[in-house]
Subunit: 215 residues, 2 copies
């Protein structure tokens, strides 16, 4: 065994001296931590009642630190909402590429949708009303939510076309599904006995019942 092979484990030891890539990672980690603390505070108290001082205190830092990693309060909220929307968007894309009938794909998507809505950032999407945002942000927000809704409507339409879904009013079916699966963002307790996945399955089964063709 050549001598030069030995120091590998030594150089791999955790070092307090970070190189450039590590520093960028540190920064990203801190940014993510700020965002998570903020979204939890927003969800627990509501946007207006959650102060940045409290968010900072929950991380053991001071308020300007938040401004160092993210912009002003609205930008923090927008970033939280965008995280949630991206998760939903990814789920919709995955469902669109998945095999199976329209009903199957819709069901798979809705299970994921409901789980996201019970998670930190998804919850924030549901609980954020447009009135909280500036005009520009509200327009973008609406557009991104609309994309998700269009994906749902598309899946319903395909299901109707392939006979796996009853010929319902597509617009109202998507509203009803969204309502049923958004609502847990308000009542589900993450520390309670039921996991998001369990809740999601129960709700999706009931909500989809109304769209299933009758024997």
């Amino acid at each position: 065994m050549p001598k030069s092979a030995v120091p590998v484990s030594a150089t791999a030891l955790p070092s307090p001296f970070r190189n450039k890539a590590e520093r960028e990672q540190d920064r990203a980690d801190k940014r993510a931590a700020v965002l998570l603390a903020a979204v939890r505070m927003f969800n627990a108290r509501g946007y207006h009642a959650a102060s940045l001082d409290d968010v900072a205190a929950s991380l053991g830092v001071s308020k300007p630190t938040i401004y160092h990693y993210l912009g002003n309060k609205e930008q923090v909220l927008v970033e939280c909402v965008n995280r949630g929307l991206s998760m939903l968007r990814d789920a919709a894309d995955a469902a669109a590429r998945a095999p199976g009938s329209g009903h199957d794909r819709l069901r798979a998507f809705l299970l994921r949708y409901a789980c996201i809505n019970m998670d930190d950032f998804g919850r924030c999407v549901i609980r954020t009303n447009e009135e909280l945002l500036s005009m520009d942000s509200a327009i973008q927000f609406r557009a991104r939510k609309r994309e998700i809704d269009d994906a749902v409507r598309g899946m319903i339409a395909e299901g109707i076309a392939d006979g796996s879904i009853a010929p319902v009013d597509i617009r109202f079916a998507s509203f009803a599904l969204a309502g049923a699966l958004n609502w847990p963002a308000r009542w589900h307790d993450p520390d309670g006995p039921m996991s998001p996945a369990e809740v999601a399955e129960k709700l999706v089964d009931i909500a989809l019942g109304g769209l299933t063709p009758r024997g």
Copy 2:
């Protein structure tokens, strides 16, 4: 025609001099006007973003006038919420006394429920999160909402017993229905083309589809 009959119309003329009953009525009217202005402001901007100064200004009065007719800001909100809850409660009681199968009664109630949720005070019930309230008010609020939910569950149970509703999980069925029918409080536009009654009927049909026994 005796002379004494003529002055009747004269004494019935609108007079600026109000008697005691009329003064009490005036007061009640003003109180109601303040409440309506407040609930609309709360619904449009959210509780925290709606200032009492603005509510007062929208009525052409000053802030202390609000304190004269109602208490502090939280009391105004509580009163708005209670109005909405009373409407829902009345609807639940009426449905419980109505004839027909469990499914019929549930359907009639849900139509009313959905409409109330699109009205000023019902909207406020949906949009008011417990975090906005003091501990005491939140406990009362939860209890009153629970009454409504219990009524829904009772109707579902009766429907299952009489065979008009499929044997679903009662708890989750009530959650799913509530979600689907609460959601319009967020998106329905009172000035839009669809009336609350139309929206209600479409949504109830789809939402109840999942609870209907299969042929």
